[in-house]
Symmetry: C2
Subunit: 441 residues, 2 copies
């Protein structure tokens, strides 16, 4: 027989049980925090019409998978983020939603990126957005949400949420007297700093964008501003950015945001104003934020987002602003794995393996397995072909189950089980009725 | 501006928040039961190589979406079930797994079916399989798992799990003296009975397959066998199916299975031997089962599966048998919806809306929202632009939140909130420190 290659396609991957369980546990926690903050879940299809997804942007279009049933069909596109589907969804269902509309969405997205370590062509994003509010309280809510997500994952002291406002850098053209049409290129250059270093950014600002050395130095001075507190940093920036009303507006928004984030109980140790945050994407118009793991700054942001002014006008005659965040689940997982911070997770969820090696005891064995499950104890029953106690114990050890329950003919008669702690290599006799209590977590 | 159509592509759909939450809650319960039975989760990509998915079957191939990045790429296929990916996965990772390997997988699959009510081109399957065991105890385990899933969903008395064994009908050719090559066609015809009625089946058996009336009557007599108990039904079938060793083997397996299912505590009111279950799919070789909602028999099976002999030999030089089940999540959800059995679910998970209508009280309002969330109470904060208490209350009522917390300047000073029960239209004053306790579920 010709055998078919069993590896997943290039750029895609399988998750083994322990990794799948660890990632699922993290996603369940994140979803729980989203709900605790009052965000509703939605679902949208993985396939969307191509015009919905691309809106004519060529860069996006190159990375997008197109899918069809037959050669004659119009292709559909596999979504590459959860923001564009949100925009379409809000336009389609505006009459059925209550605004401001706080929604979360956890799902796969697909991008045809070049395969490299830690980058896959299918990955999970966990998005939360508030659609509709103009109030900057919503921006503070999103920062509080990000903080709670990381705190719940046990990472409050391992991350820093950097916060800026797009208007601060948008106003650079006033302050430094260059043409505003160069601003997007300047922001894209600044955005590369963490990855490529300042020298590369400076070279791009001068050689490609045409700023002079004085302008570049002024930008660096602004980005490197530091102070004891968010407030004094903002004071310094305000003083520095003369004649730039747009920058001043951004700074005033950051000042109000700071008080609101304090008010929502986010400790200053977990977030900071960081004026170097540019966020390359075009659609942010106000607050922007990025979350980095303090032990892995070069890894880049694992959770980012910001405020945008116009989400749905491509689809419907409405102008809705919003603010949102996205956790790059698989990137976060890879980073935590590198840091040894993924909680150790068993391949099997079963807390106990009930062995089944003695035909006379089998009715009892089945009943015990059923009783343990009914009591909420995750339980596996031995189903292999090895009929020896020794062989079944070796299987239970290999499977990594914390406990084994042993019931042979003698135990069956006496109404007791041998409860073996496989990690500690201890064993004691437990009456059937007490097994579930002993195995409760 | 040219606006882009905001509807999802034909055959696909969005879920509104209440439906998304209700479906997610069901999936979370199902995953919990899978884990309680010791099943590990895995993940595989949505896109697989085309040869992996089709194995050359034309019917499958027609319903499969093909996706690619550029016109020159080899296309990949969107998976149309979770069983083929399981087979590839087991072959790829056999060295890293412990057998018997009990895995669950909840995920989207895609099929280009003709759009019709309740049928979508993307739908969720919840699969659980045990790969490797030859023991029929594994078959009983899967039936017990199915029962627990439906019991946990509150549907134990609303469903019936019909159980048969493929060998019983496979042996019909011995018993009725027709050529064994006609068996698959006979099974496919029988499989249509619930949907199309017996007359259509009988017509197909005679006109298309060439059985005579006597043979058709004998088949009907077998399928319609009834008795007070599984055991006496099996006795009758045994007596009827003379000279058919294969059928007798199936009946003996069902007899042993019955005792094991009893042993695992599944009540006879929730399952029954039903010899009319054929399961059209070719790969089942032993136990087969289908679950129907007793109030909607014509809706068809919402959870089915069976035992197969050869899962992975297409991918690796091993022969692994297994037994598994699949819940058609979206079909089940549609059926329960039709029966009014989907638990009423709010669009928002928030139990309380904290209003924010008075600037002087805002620091307290933010703190209360944060405190409630920290205490585990799902909480939303008003973020709209209406600054009146009346307008914000109207928003809270429209949003369907059970409670609203009202803190104006006076409440802020006195350290109390007005807690309004929006459903019962009652209100009382609650000190800040007692709010979380009052709102705990």
């Amino acid at each position: 027989m010709d055998r078919i290659d069993s590896q997943p396609p290039s750029g895609f991957r399988d998750l083994l049980p322990a990794d799948a369980a660890a990632r699922q546990a993290m996603m369940d926690r994140i979803a729980g925090i989203f709900r605790r903050h009052g965000f509703s879940s939605i679902d949208t299809p993985a396939l969307e019409r191509v015009d919905v997804l691309t809106g004519g942007e060529a860069e996006v279009s190159k990375q997008m998978y197109r899918a069809k049933l037959t050669d004659n069909d119009e292709p559909l596109g596999l979504r590459f983020d959860l923001t564009v589907p949100l925009a379409r969804y809000v336009a389609a269902h505006a009459d059925e939603l209550t605004f401001p509309f706080a929604r979360y969405h956890i799902g796969n997205v697909w991008r045809g990126e070049h395969a490299q370590a830690g980058r896959y062509r299918q990955f999970i994003q966990c998005d939360a957005d508030i659609v509709g509010p103009r109030s900057i309280v919503a921006d503070a809510e999103i920062i509080a949400l990000m903080y709670d997500v990381f705190r719940d994952l046990g990472l409050a002291d391992k991350i820093i949420i950097g916060v800026s406002n797009r208007k601060v850098l948008d106003g650079l053209s006033d302050f430094l007297n260059f043409d505003a049409s160069r601003t997007p290129a300047v922001l894209r250059a600044i955005d590369k700093r963490a990855r490529m270093g300042w020298d590369a950014v400076a070279a791009e600002l001068t050689a490609k964008i045409g700023l002079d050395d004085q302008q570049v130095d002024a930008i660096r001075e602004l980005l490197d501003l530091s102070a004891d507190s968010a407030e004094s940093l903002l004071d310094k920036a305000h003083a520095m950015l003369q004649f730039s009303p747009r920058s001043h507006e951004g700074i005033e928004e950051l000042r109000r945001l700071t008080a609101l984030v304090d008010g929502l109980g986010v400790p200053r140790s977990s977030w900071a104003v960081d004026l170097s945050i540019a966020r390359g994407l075009g659609y942010y118009t106000g607050t922007v934020f990025e979350t980095t793991l303090t032990a892995l700054p070069a890894f880049g942001s694992v959770c980012s987002g910001g405020r945008y002014d116009d989400l749905v006008s491509r689809f419907a005659p409405m102008k809705l602003s919003g603010v949102g965040m996205s956790v790059g689940m698989d990137r976060l997982f890879a980073a935590l794995d590198e840091l040894g911070l993924v909680p150790p997770t068993a391949a099997s969820p079963a807390r106990v393996a009930v062995l089944d090696f003695d035909a006379t005891a089998r009715p009892t064995v089945l009943k015990i397995a059923s009783d343990l499950r009914n009591a909420g104890v995750p339980t596996t029953l031995y189903l292999g072909s090895d009929e020896s106690l020794k062989g079944q114990l070796a299987w239970a050890v290999k499977g990594g189950f914390p406990f084994a329950v042993i019931i042979g003919a003698k135990e069956h008669e006496r109404g007791v089980a041998q409860l073996k702690n496989l990690a500690e290599r201890t064993q004691d006799e437990v009456p059937f009725a007490q097994l579930a209590g002993r195995l409760a977590v």
